[in-house]
Subunit: 199 residues, 2 copies
């Protein structure tokens, strides 16, 4: 037995969300129908609007419905000479939550992964090279994830930047604050020794 | 820092779903924006349509966008003399998945809970009494949840049905198939002894 067509369609559609299977989708649909139709309406509206209107910032490639994202559009930060390269818009949020970086970003929206067909073109590296060639960039901080693909992407970009008189740095990898040495993996520990700083 | 208004609005709206917090909402929004805008569009469309068009079956109170749900509208089952009373539309689905019940349903959409202001009126018991008074019902099977509230609701409905010459029964509680006696709680075990059947 199925529910009525509209309810069924809603349950099927909810399964497109990551981590949501048939049972969760059913629970979500019933919760909205029983308790909170207004929230369901606004979610439907927000989804439709975001899916059709949100594009990418023409300067840093993060999500925005404007031509430039708030950071690139700001007078103070949009002209910054320091660019931080990250893999996803969520990384921008994580760095902004700390509030210690005041430059601008460049969002790759992925990492180099030749087997999946993701090369320099898909990561918008031509646009990044334009930024570098403009002479308005003094430092490039590579904050891609500390994974094999993230490291490969960082090295590729570092090679690309060499011809442009730009300082290229990679964020430090080491023991996280609050972590216990005993439980840190050996690769991280090795990196923390290699990256040691004079006190 | 916030995302652009539309992305932010989408993340906030996704938090209305049960079990979805700020991090999950962000992940869902980015997944849809990055990978599957078409699915996001259909979800938005399905939500808007379901929230505005889905009402309740006038006969059994389950969710449907028609006047009667598929079961109540069917020639074979809609006129059945056996009514199974359940708490939620999801319970209907669970029973239908078994395929062993061929009567019709009555969905309470909750259980008696005076402290939350849920009384007989909220559960549509007047409509159920109409069904009973019509003389077209021979048996009422009470399949509310085996909780304090579900039991109380079942007893309330049983009292109500007494004046209508209707057989009232409650589904059996006992050791579930595949369960191990060792791990079954004592109340369930006691109920399984009380409800024992001759072999």
């Amino acid at each position: 037995m199925k529910f009525s067509p509209l309810v069924d369609e809603l349950i099927q559609a909810l399964k497109c969300l990551p981590g949501v299977g048939p049972k969760s989708a059913q629970r979500m649909a019933f919760q909205l129908l029983e308790r909170d139709r207004k929230a369901g309406q606004s979610l439907g509206h927000a989804l439709s609007k975001a899916m059709s209107d949100v594009g990418h910032c023409q300067s840093c490639r993060t999500f925005t419905e404007e031509v430039h994202c708030p950071i690139c559009a700001s007078h103070k930060r949009g002209q910054s000479q320091v660019i931080c390269v990250v893999e996803t818009p969520a990384d921008v949020l994580a760095i902004e939550a700390g509030g210690h970086f005041s430059g601008r970003y460049f969002v790759l929206l992925g990492h180099l992964s030749p087997l999946d067909g993701i090369g320099p073109d898909e990561l918008g590296l031509a646009l990044l090279e334009e930024h570098l060639a403009s002479g308005e960039v003094s430092e490039l901080i590579l904050a891609t994830n500390p994974t094999v693909e993230g490291d490969a992407t960082a090295h590729f970009i570092a090679d690309m930047a060499k011809s442009h008189q730009v300082i290229v740095s990679r964020i430090a990898h080491g023991v996280p604050v609050g972590g216990e040495l005993e439980y840190v993996d050996s690769t991280t520990l090795a990196l923390s020794f290699n990256g040691r700083l004079p006190l």
